[in-house]
Point group: C2
Chain length 342, copies 2
Amino acid sequence: MAELTFEINEPLDMHLHLRDADMLKLVGPLTSKTFSGALIMPNLVPPITTKEALLSYKQRIKEACKDDKFEPYVTLFFKNDYSYEFLSDVKNDIIGIKLYPAGITTNSETGVASMDVEVLRPALESMSKLGIPLCIHGETNGFVMDREKEFMPIYESIAKSFPDLKIIMEHITTKDAIELLDKYDNLFATVTLHHLIITLDDVAGGMLNPHLFCKPIAKRPEDRSALLNAALKAHPKLMFGSDSAPHPKHKKECCGCAAGVFTSPIALQVLTELFEKHNALDKLNAFVSLNAQRIYNLSLEKKTIKLVKKDFVVPAIYEYKNENVVPMYAGETISWSIESIN
Amino acid sequence: MAELTFEINEPLDMHLHLRDADMLKLVGPLTSKTFSGALIMPNLVPPITTKEALLSYKQRIKEACKDDKFEPYVTLFFKNDYSYEFLSDVKNDIIGIKLYPAGITTNSETGVASMDVEVLRPALESMSKLGIPLCIHGETNGFVMDREKEFMPIYESIAKSFPDLKIIMEHITTKDAIELLDKYDNLFATVTLHHLIITLDDVAGGMLNPHLFCKPIAKRPEDRSALLNAALKAHPKLMFGSDSAPHPKHKKECCGCAAGVFTSPIALQVLTELFEKHNALDKLNAFVSLNAQRIYNLSLEKKTIKLVKKDFVVPAIYEYKNENVVPMYAGETISWSIESIN
């Protein structure tokens, strides 16, 4: 019997955390090997807020990734006081700017304190004029299951106030966000792999599972359904962004575990498994590449990932020097493997 | 300035897990010292299902607790096939029978597979005739935030089918359960200390906190408000039941942590702090003793716990031989201390 195969062309991960130093050297190649490009989030300590830091980080990523066919699209950490001149100067070096409400996730302590449009206006007007997209971690500091829903009016307010600004609702987790996507032309979104698969049940419904604890937290079954349905039909304003976020094993499996799910090395295999299960493989290339190419105006070198329907046992851990990270599905078997990369 | 003091008379903990062996020896005295009695849950491995096991466990509890003024009210683990003769024989040795849907919490694997009233009818009819109360862990196996709410129709169905059966909704966590309390004369409830204080935010809103992970999981702010309001007015059908559930530190602070919050040694101090804060100290004796005495027809020896408004630093851990357990508020300071016990 012939093996079932599937090809993904120029896959893009439009929301990725690569960290720095040895952790970057560990996780960078796990994305660059199988993806054509990734949008790299800037929440290092200190965050990326200068052209110098940006270019230096991009260089470190390229050195760690060692793949000529992989493009790291870097971002700045949003600050209210970025001037038009500064933004104009860095415009060609970045793909967008990432806005974090202060204290909302890992290394976001220096994020913006107020989401009032008037406070944000100067920087957002400059970005709008210069055509720099705004990527937002959209959560309030309310009750954990309501934080994204409560942020919807803020998305609306920014979308209405800056109709020429491309706004990306990052790692959306609710049906509210899916519904909002169709309401404003300038609103787009990324969704992770894990939010297409898990709900709060997987985090805290049986035993507590720190490896699936992330921000925004996985929500209700009806939220997952809305996200999955939009992904499976490759909603034209929705892009794949893994939000793959490595933390060392000891910081996940401890009291007070850090937030983040590490999915980079299994993302394409599991997406293929998921889209095949739902008879939607014909939509996967749009979801994982074409939508992002169109939304961000990207042109990419050809890179073809050939997957085959064959068991793949996910490694229990990935290690480099003193760093390590446990992937989603550690030790479990998934039904698709990567056969070749060209 | 005179110190602020408060007296609690004959406190009762109407839902308590004491485990067995060295863990029993560690946690038993932490309840018996300050309480007049406690309803002890039967979910050991194997569960308590025979008169012999029941009497033997009660004896081990008495030996571990070493306090003549403490009464352990023991319970049987519900089984569909208990005969009238058997129940009639154990009636005077137990305070009630605890029903667990299979697989719903720690050591509940051998619980009942179906909550269909007709399946439960023979045993429940016998209990009803004999006047044996039914204590229920009321959760379905649905989405974690909905499990208790989804169980409400099952409570209703049992309450309607057996109007003479006293039914206790154990460790309620939702406003739905509070509302149901007033709908059927034969429905009662216990509520824990921690569910009066925490929401899901405290478990998974910041970092993941395994020490506050429990079943049923802490719910939404409006649920906590409903529970707290009912406790503060000492709703006559609501009793204090800590559901204090010790697990060794390594089973809490690990990947896949066990469910349960350990509150026995701090329960009376924190309840006093909470009721004082809400100007409801005049209701605390009803909530923590009188309601249970009336609902279960208990007569108790006099035991007075005198508390004083003075800082108490909660121990980081309690230990005995190879067993240990981390209490809620470990290492933190609470504003009331126990001054004397008479």
